[in-house]
Amino acid sequence: MTGMTRRERIEVLVDAPLVPKLAALATEAGITGHTLWRVTGGTGSGGIWTEDLLSGATAKSLFLVIASAERADRFIAALEPLLDSHQLIVMRSSVEVVRPERF
C-alpha cells in the first residue's frame, strides 16, 4: 500500500439531538474532526423506527471518527457511561489512511 498508515475508525449510531454532545466528547478526547450522515430506519430491541424530521427527536445519524488508537481509546472510554442512557451503538475497526498526521 502506497504510504498508508493505520488509524482507528469509530462509528456511533446516535439520535440526532445528541450529536453535539458526541462531538464535544470527541473534541475532549483530542479528535479534530468527524463526519455525519443520516440513517433512514432500522430495527432493534425498541422496535422498528423510520426517519423523523418533524420532531427530530428520534432521527438517527451515523457519526464517523478517524483517530489514533490512543485517542480512540479515550473517546470510547468517554462514551461508556452514555451507552445505555443514550442508546448508542458503537463500532470500532482499523483503516489505513493517507496523511495520517491529520487524525
Binding site: 439520535d15 440526532a16 439531538p17 445528541l18 453535539p20 454532545k21 425498541g46 422496535g47 422498528i48 423506527w49 426517519e51 423523523d52 424530521l53 418533524l54 420532531s55 427530530g56 427527536a57 428520534t58 452514555l82 442512557s85 443514550h86 442508546q87
Partner: protein
C-alpha cells in the same frame, strides 16, 4: 356540541386527517416525504404568525394581550407540575419519564392550534389575532418545568446553558413570533401581495399536512411497545382536564369566548415538535417512544376530533355564565 363535532368532522382538514389515519391503519405505504412535511409546517407557522400580526395591526393590541400572555406562560409552567404526579402514581412511571411527558403537556401543539383556528373562524367564531403570540409563549417554558421535575433531588445542575438558549430561540418560537412581528409591521396593506400564498392557500396546505399527521400519529401508535392502557387513558384525560382549565382561565381573565376556547386548545394540546427534541437532548434516559406515542398518537387525534369542538362548547357556555 354534537352538531359542532359533526360539522368539524366534515371539514376538509379533518377528513384528510382521517384519511391518513385510515391509510396507516390499513398499513398502506402512503407517505409524505419528511422534508416536504417539514416545509409545510414552516409554511403553516409563518402563515399563522403573519395573520395574527396583521389582525393585531388592524384592531390594536388591546389590554387583553398582556394578561393572555401571562396566563399562557403560567399554564405552560404549571401544567407539568399538575400532570407529573398523576403520571407517577396512576401511570406508574419513574421520575424521569414523568418529567419528560409532563413537559409535552405543558407545551402546545402548533397544528392543533392552527386546525382549531381554521375550524372556529370558518364558522364565525374567530379568536383574537394575538393568540398566536400566546401560542409562541407557551411552547418552551414547560421544558424547564419538566426538567425540574425529572432532576429535582438528583443534585446535578438543573439546566445546561445550551438548553436555556434552545428554550428561548427554538425554531418554531422564532418563526411564530417573527412572522407575528412582520405581520404587525406590514399591516393589511403590506400583506396584500403575499396573501394569495399565505391566506388563500392555507386551508389546502393544512389538508395535506393533516394527511401526513394522520399517517404519523397512527403509525406511531402501532409501532410503540411502551404504551399501556393506563397511559393511553391519561392521554385522553390530560387534554380534557388541561383544556377545561385553559377555557376557564381564558374566561376568567375576560377573553372573548373564541379566544378562551383557543386558550383551552393550547392548554389541552401536547407538543410534538419543540419538546421531544429538547427532551431527547436533555433527558436521553427518558423513553422517546413513550412521550411521542402519548402526545402524537393519543392526545393529538383526540384534540383534533373531540377537543376542538368540545372546548368551543365549553367556552360558549362558560361565557354565558359570567
Amino acid at each position: 356540541m354534537f352538531d359542532q363535532i359533526a360539522a368539524s368532522l366534515l371539514s376538509p382538514p379533518i377528513l384528510f386527517f382521517a384519511l391518513g389515519a385510515l391509510a396507516a391503519l390499513a398499513r398502506s405505504d402512503l407517505a409524505v416525504p419528511e422534508t416536504v412535511a417539514k416545509g409545510l409546517s414552516l409554511y403553516l407557522m409563518a402563515a399563522i404568525g403573519l395573520k395574527g400580526g396583521v389582525e393585531v395591526s388592524r384592531i390594536g393590541i388591546g389590554g387583553d394581550l398582556g394578561i393572555a400572555l401571562l396566563a399562557g406562560f403560567v399554564l405552560s409552567c404549571a401544567i407539568p407540575f399538575a400532570v407529573a404526579p398523576v403520571l407517577r402514581r396512576f401511570g406508574r412511571l419513574d421520575r424521569i419519564n414523568a418529567g419528560a411527558i409532563a413537559a409535552h403537556y405543558g407545551s402546545v401543539s402548533v397544528v392543533t392550534f392552527v386546525t382549531a383556528n381554521q375550524i372556529y373562524a370558518g364558522s364565525g367564531f374567530a379568536a383574537a389575532g394575538f393568540m398566536v403570540a400566546v401560542l409562541a409563549i407557551m411552547e418552551t417554558p414547560a421544558i424547564l418545568s419538566g426538567l425540574l421535575i425529572a432532576r429535582r433531588g438528583t443534585g446535578g445542575k438543573l439546566f445546561e446553558p445550551r438548553l436555556l438558549h434552545e428554550v428561548a430561540f427554538n425554531g418554531s418560537v422564532v418563526l411564530l413570533l417573527g412572522s407575528f412581528a412582520i405581520g404587525m409591521l406590514i399591516g393589511e396593506q403590506g400583506y396584500q401581495p403575499i396573501s394569495p400564498l399565505f391566506t388563500a392557500g392555507f386551508t389546502g396546505v393544512l389538508c395535506l399536512f393533516l394527511l401526513d399527521m394522520g399517517l404519523i400519529a397512527v403509525r406511531r401508535l402501532m409501532q410503540t411497545r411502551a404504551l399501556n392502557l393506563q397511559l393511553a387513558v391519561l392521554g385522553v384525560i390530560f387534554p380534557l382536564a388541561n383544556g377545561a382549565i385553559g377555557v376557564a382561565a381564558g374566561t376568567l381573565i375576560g377573553l372573548d369566548a373564541a379566544s378562551a376556547a383557543v386558550l383551552g386548545v393550547l392548554a389541552g394540546s401536547a407538543s410534538y415538535i419543540a419538546v421531544p427534541a429538547a427532551m431527547r437532548m436533555s433527558l436521553p434516559q427518558a423513553d422517546a417512544g413513550l412521550y411521542l406515542a402519548m402526545s402524537l398518537g393519543v392526545t393529538f387525534p383526540f384534540n383534533i376530533i373531540v377537543g376542538i369542538p368540545l372546548f368551543r362548547w365549553l367556552a360558549e357556555n362558560l361565557g354565558g355564565l359570567t
